[in-house]
């Protein structure tokens, strides 16, 4: 059976892609952000991850308002990135893992999550950048993208997203393959791009959320998505992806969850950036 080696959550700001392309990792503005990653990379290498299941939110590359799924699971052999209109570099395609995709799809439907399945799916910066941060060279893992709508309200509740993560975790652990799987969640933390409140950041809430994830992961499920926008900003609601990741890892005691590393830095672009990695068994 497959093993979940742990989970990682981190921010996915588009300009990170440009900074990587320009080699700005040591630049004083970028260093406090990039220096969070080497300990996580070392851990991923030693834990020998084979597959990454990635919860992320599309920003209008693959999905438009004509058809906007609440939850969409990729089931493709390959996933391409493409021009998003802002001049950030387009990354090479990622190799899919259809076998695990369908294992997850079957489990989710059995658990009454009526998801959309996608045998063709473009992946945007929210997917590509975190993978590049984990593996700066050629991506050595196969991938399963799971997209959660944060574009159009009503968004799925934090409670529902957490349960989705739990179900995905169950599916991975029930996969008849001798593989090591890492679960990722990308986005956040607090930030707001739109309206007179643009530039809003909430350090206290972010830190409370990060602290909750280890031993009290259901903490954020007490909030409605509107409340989460109030606390973390219109785009800070992307913390839902972190919650799904943590849901997949399962109970802290049962799965011996240990925090590998964390980092938090204000600001990159308009965003309070966060990084957290957990090991699980």
């Amino acid at each position: 059976m497959a093993n979940i080696i742990g989970g990682v959550a981190c921010s996915h700001i588009p300009s990170i892609g440009s900074a990587i392309a320009k080699g700005l990792q040591e630049d004083p503005y970028w260093k406090p952000f990039f220096e969070g990653f080497p300990p996580v990379r070392s851990w991923l290498t030693s834990a020998r991850a084979d597959v990454a299941v990635v919860f992320y939110n599309d920003h209008g590359l693959n999905f438009f308002l004509d058809k906007m799924p609440t939850f969409a699971v990729g089931a493709a052999a390959s996933y391409s990135n493409a021009d998003e209109g802002w001049g950030i570099p387009v990354m090479d395609p990622f190799e899919g893992n259809p076998d695990l995709s369908w294992q997850i799809i079957n489990e989710l439907i059995r658990d009454e999550f009526d998801i959309v399945t996608c045998q063709e799916m473009l992946v945007d910066h929210a997917f590509t950048i975190p993978l590049k941060l984990m593996w700066p060279g050629k991506c050595p893992v196969t991938v399963v993208p799971i997209c959660i709508n944060t574009v159009q309200f009503p968004l799925p509740s934090a409670k529902r997203v957490y349960a989705l993560g739990q179900s995905v975790g169950k599916a991975i652990r029930g996969w008849a393959a001798n593989k090591n799987v890492v679960v990722m969640g990308t986005g956040g933390l607090s930030h707001q791009l739109d309206g007179e409140r643009a530039g809003f950041i909430n350090k206290k809430f972010d830190q409370e959320f990060m602290n909750s994830l280890h031993r009290d992961p259901a903490w954020a499920t007490q909030f409605s998505t509107e409340d989460l926008v109030g606390h973390a900003g219109t785009q800070g609601v992307e913390l839902l992806m972190w919650l799904a990741m943590r849901g997949a890892l399962g109970d802290a005691q049962e799965h011996h969850i240990r925090k590998v590393h964390e980092n938090y830095h204000i600001p990159i672009s308009n965003t309070a950036t966060g990084l957290i990695a957990f090991e699980s068994h």
Partner: protein, 112 residues
């Protein structure tokens, strides 16, 4: 939805999404360089081809993000429009808050 309790924020829900459909569809098309170039060549014709409302056309001409949001624009699609002019999210943030870009960046730093 509790839109009123979050100051300076309009949640992009059913009302905005229906009102802004044509505008957002046009901005979504800017994922393609060919479409961005076509827009730049003849902005008015491009807007007409996407059936923008007069209000949305005025908002596009004004390059005013708050007006674009009020016309039903969604920030993710609008960012692709802003990208045509080389504007990033900090330019957009500064514009919406009435600050210079430097002052907007200083405001972000101050959250530390």
């Amino acid at each position: 939805m509790n839109q009123k309790i979050i100051p300076g924020t309009t949640l992009f829900g059913p009302t905005q999404s229906q009102m802004g459909y044509a505008l957002n569809k046009m901005c979504f098309s800017f994922n393609s360089k060919e479409n961005r170039d076509t827009f730049v060549l003849d902005e008015e014709a491009y807007m007409r081809s996407y059936h923008l409302t007069p209000n949305q056309m005025q908002a596009i001409r004004s390059r005013d993000v708050l007006k674009l949001l009020a016309a039903g624009g969604n920030i993710y699609y609008l960012a692709k429009f802003a990208g045509i002019f080389g504007l990033d999210v900090q330019d957009i943030g500064a514009q919406q808050t009435g600050l210079t870009k430097e002052a907007f960046k200083a405001k972000l730093q101050a959250y530390n």
